[in-house]
């Protein structure tokens, strides 16, 4: 991993169009400002990891976990 030291208001560039600026440092909390094209998704890693975990869990669902699924959904769905 590349490790860089930056002070408040200093920036690093990733490629030509992603800028990450240290906005504030207070105790053990660092606030970062990110400028990136909208086509690049920027999110906290925990959110990514949560979705990744949920995908993995959902990939283990089997046919017999879901007996008569559609029939029941038709009864329960507000649109049915």
């Amino acid at each position: 991993m590349l490790v860089l030291s930056r002070q408040r208001d200093e920036t690093i560039m990733i490629g030509d169009d992603v800028e990450i600026t240290v906005v504030d440092v207070r105790g053990d909390k660092v606030r970062l400002g990110i400028n990136a094209p909208r086509s690049i998704q920027v999110h906290r890693k925990e959110v990514y990891d949560a979705i990744k975990r949920e995908n993995t869990a959902a990939s283990n669902v089997q046919i017999d976990d879901l007996p008569s699924l559609d029939a029941q959904a038709r009864r329960e769905s507000p649109r049915s």
Partner: protein, 169 residues
């Protein structure tokens, strides 16, 4: 084309039914190609009733499949906020040209939907992407419905290949 699956045996689908997820799904980035299989067909009855759930079956990996649903069938007020640049990168002008699915999981007897990581599919080009929403109202496990405890069925019946499985739009 024929697709080998562990859940449905060999499934035959038209080539133009294959969807491309160029980035894969989160945690499954290597696998790009999927088809939708109506969950109703897993009964082998081949009825033409409208489905609420589909299997998103990997073309590349026989055992990789997800249950997906249209979240608007279960959750009101759910929309996927997508910026114009992001729409453009998906090849669509507006969300009217997209179909939104969420992946379904089963937690005990509750079916949950991953509303934080919706799948957005460009219907015309059959190209999709899993988005990550920062809106904290929508979590990875939003309850959709309860299902009754499964009645123990002979394993043989579950493993029988379903020849009538058909991919849908």
């Amino acid at each position: 084309m024929n697709i080998e699956t562990t859940r449905f045996g060999t499934v035959t689908v038209a080539d133009d039914r294959v969807m491309d997820f160029p980035k894969g799904l989160l945690g499954f980035s290597k696998y790009r190609h999927y088809v939708l299989i109506e969950s109703g067909d897993t009964t082998g009855k081949g009825t033409a009733q409208e489905s609420y759930f589909w299997w998103l079956q990997s073309v590349d990996v026989p055992e990789l499949a997800f249950i997906v649903t249209d979240p608007s069938l279960f959750v009101s007020g759910y929309s996927v906020p997508v910026h114009a640049d992001q729409l453009a990168s998906m090849g669509i002008a507006s969300m009217d040209e997209a179909q939104v699915f969420v992946i379904v999981n089963k937690i005990d007897q509750t079916l949950t939907g991953n509303l934080q990581g919706p799948l957005v599919v460009n219907v015309q080009e059959r190209r999709g992407e899993q988005l990550v929403l920062s809106d904290r109202r929508f979590t990875t496990r939003v309850p959709l419905m309860e299902v009754p405890a499964a009645i123990a069925a002979p394993v043989v019946a579950v493993q029988a290949p379903v020849e009538s499985a058909v991919a849908v739009a």
